[in-house]
């Protein structure tokens, strides 16, 4: 893609706003359309777009595969860990009311933000991991060999 100057410039311009929009969708999820899954996909799209235009090796320098795996696990841990926190506070698993006993409604909001963050991180990481897995696959037979 070295010759596609327009694509390269536009991509550089777009990656930032895409990431920002993903965060917007993420943190408005609990009271407007959006949430962890959608945000995670949008977040991953920034990396995938970057990878398509600048090459797989470049994007792997930005977000190395080993780190992708860690983030995928981290998200699950945040989700499950939120439940454990509510258990520690002496309530049922994933009972957000326990997070703020004086104002249960605030506890609910906090709990949802926490688990949506977990969902977002995992979805973004898994999306990127799937892209890496497909893009890194070496074709069994080259087109020229047919």
């Amino acid at each position: 893609m070295r010759h596609h100057l327009i694509l390269r410039v536009i991509t550089k311009l777009l990656v930032g706003p895409i990431l920002l929009f993903a965060l917007y969708v993420q943190f408005h999820g609990e009271y407007s359309p959006g949430g962890g899954f959608q945000a995670g996909v949008i977040f991953a799209v920034a990396f995938i777009l970057f990878g398509i235009v600048f090459g797989l090796e470049t994007v792997k320098k930005v977000f190395p595969p080993w780190l992708v795996h860690k983030f995928a696990a981290l998200g699950v841990l945040i989700f499950a860990g939120t439940g454990v926190v509510s258990v520690m506070l002496g309530s049922n698993y994933l009972n957000y009311n326990a997070l703020n006993p004086d104002n249960p409604q605030l506890g609910q909001v906090g709990g949802i933000i926490a688990i949506e963050l977990g969902v977002g991180i995992t979805v973004a990481a898994v999306m990127v991991a799937i892209y890496y897995a497909f893009a890194s696959r070496t074709p069994m037979i080259n087109d020229e060999d047919w």
């Binding site: 795996h69 981290l74 841990l77 499950a80 002496g90 309530s91 049922n92 698993y93 009972n95 957000y96």
Partner: protein, 506 residues
């Protein structure tokens, strides 16, 4: 008596139904975060031990017919997700976590031999997810939650099976076959649940059974029944739906085969029993017809056809896989008879066959480690080189046949008794004949192990390490113990069968 875990001021005992599942679920991402294969194994083992302790404690709590209820997130059922532990699923949780706790010490060396080091962390992560999924399927009292956990266990199972590709590339096609069939099964199941929700407006199993009590003529719940039976039947490998099983068991890493053979199909059969006897009333005419005219004939067909196919197998793993299909036939026969005694026979057989097949597959894993494959040709005379391992195989084989003094005898005896109770003496004779088929394929293997002259390469083989031998022998001794002391298993199965027929202690 129903024990509901309160909304506040919960003790650790109240949290057990949830902790049994959440502990392995937390351990899985931790494996990946640490990224060290030794820590991953340790986490998997510890999680498994904790789950086992929790499950044992719950089993002791519900043994007298009590029911534990846990409300996820503090939301009351039927709206919220409820974990409902009665004798039937506490027994299954005990079996699954127990097998996992015994298999994991064995796994350490076997996995090191069969899977390359880089993948070990991910292997244990997938194993834990599969374990979580199976426990969740059994523990939950919410129909949709069953589907969610079913997917968690299935997706990780596909990966685990595909990891056998390092030893044999055919693992990839087997995993793919299972992926397709397993997904069809899960889809059918969720369609069935959708129909149930449409007809009743609830997903809670206990609530479903109450609302469906006088809906016998409703076409929607009849269609749901068909979808659920076929979907779960695929997962449980009921005879004509078993095609994924031989390939998956043959090419998966030995540890995975052992764990799946002892637990995964059993969890699916538990779900079938739960839907057939707790959610749907067993006296619904359409269900009675299904049990008598579809499930029973297929079960008998499975017992004979799969045993016959097993006789002609040259790969020991594939032989045992077909034998599993036949044994599932015995369990389905107990379900088809639909009496209390036949149900408890099925539950006893779930347990006894679980430990028996675990021994046999672990022994085969030991042979794979020493001889490099499970082909009968490579195992000539191994009985003398690996005396302890092979002796365990003989014990497991005897239990599979159903020789008196082994666990397998008890469950077959129970089954024949319940068949006679239903005045089906011809079926009792057929069951005895079917055991003879098992004698043939077990004898065929014993002959290879003990009577064939060992090859030159075989002579250099040594006994497997103690960390593998010990788990094999714990289960081999369990096979004999539960064959001699039947008080515990039989009373457990009785309470479980009663719980299932009473709709989980309403």
């Amino acid at each position: 008596m129903l024990h509901v875990a309160g909304v506040s001021g919960l003790t650790i005992i109240d949290q057990l139904p949830m902790l049994t599942i959440v502990v392995p679920m937390l351990a899985a991402p931790l494996c990946v975060l640490f990224g060290n294969r030794h820590i991953a194994w340790l986490l998997a083992f510890l999680a498994s031990v904790f789950s086992f302790l929790f499950a044992t404690h719950m089993l002791l709590q519900v043994m007298d017919g009590d029911v534990l209820s846990y409300h996820m997130g503090g939301w009351e059922p039927p709206l919220g997700i409820e974990y409902r532990i009665d004798a039937a699923n506490a027994f299954m949780l005990f079996l699954i976590s127990g097998i996992s706790t015994i298999v994991l010490p064995y796994a350490r060396r076997s996995v090191a031999h069969e899977i390359k080091k880089v993948s070990h962390t991910l292997f244990y992560c997938c194993y834990l997810l599969c374990f979580t999924g199976l426990l969740g399927v059994v523990a939950t009292g919410d129909a949709f939650n069953i589907f969610v956990f079913l997917e968690i266990s299935s997706l990780s199972t596909y990966v685990l099976i595909a990891m056998g590709a390092e030893r044999d590339r055919r693992a990839l096609t087997s995993a793919y076959d299972y992926l397709i069939l397993g997904t069809i099964g899960a889809t059918f199941f969720v369609i069935g649940i959708g129909f149930l929700y449409m007809a009743t407006g609830t997903l809670n199993l206990a609530d479903l059974s109450v609302r469906m009590a006088n809906m016998e003529g409703n076409r929607t719940i009849q269609a749901a029944f068909a979808f659920i039976i076929v979907g779960m039947g695929l997962k449980a490998a009921i005879y004509p739906l078993h095609l994924w099983l031989p390939g998956a068991y043959t090419y998966a890493p030995s540890v995975v085969t052992t764990f799946l053979a002892a637990t995964a199909t059993k969890a699916a059969i538990y779900v079938l029993m739960r839907f057939m006897f707790s959610v749907y009333q067993p006296d619904f005419v359409f269900e009675l017809h299904t049990l008598t005219w579809i499930i029973m004939p297929l079960a008998i067909l499975a017992i004979f056809a799969a045993s016959l196919i097993a006789i002609f197998q040259t790969d020991l793993k594939r032989l045992l896989a077909y034998s599993s299909v036949a044994q599932i036939g015995y369990m389905m026969l107990g379900i088809g008879l639909a009496s209390k005694s036949s149900l408890s026979a099925t539950i006893v057989h779930l347990f006894n066959h679980g430990i028996t097949k675990a021994v046999l597959f672990m022994v085969v894993g030991a042979y794979v480690m020493r001889a490099g494959s499970s082909f009968a040709n490579n195992l000539n005379g191994l009985g003398k080189q690996l005396p302890w391992t092979s002796a365990a195989f003989v014990i497991g084989g005897l239990s599979l046949i159903g020789v008196p003094g082994t666990a397998g005898f008890i469950s077959k005896w129970m089954l024949i008794q319940s068949v006679l109770e239903a005045d089906l003496w011809w079926l009792a004779i057929m069951l005895v004949i079917s055991s003879l088929l098992a004698v043939i394929y077990i004898w065929k293997t014993v002959e290879v192990l003990y009577l064939k002259e060992p090859d030159v390469s075989t002579l250099a083989m040594k006994e497997v390490p103690l960390s593998m031998l010990l788990p094999i022998w714990i289960l081999a001794i369990a096979c004999i113990y539960f064959g001699l002391n039947t008080e515990w298993t039989l009373s457990m199965a009785d309470v479980a069968a009663e719980g299932l027929l009473n709709g989980g202690g309403k």
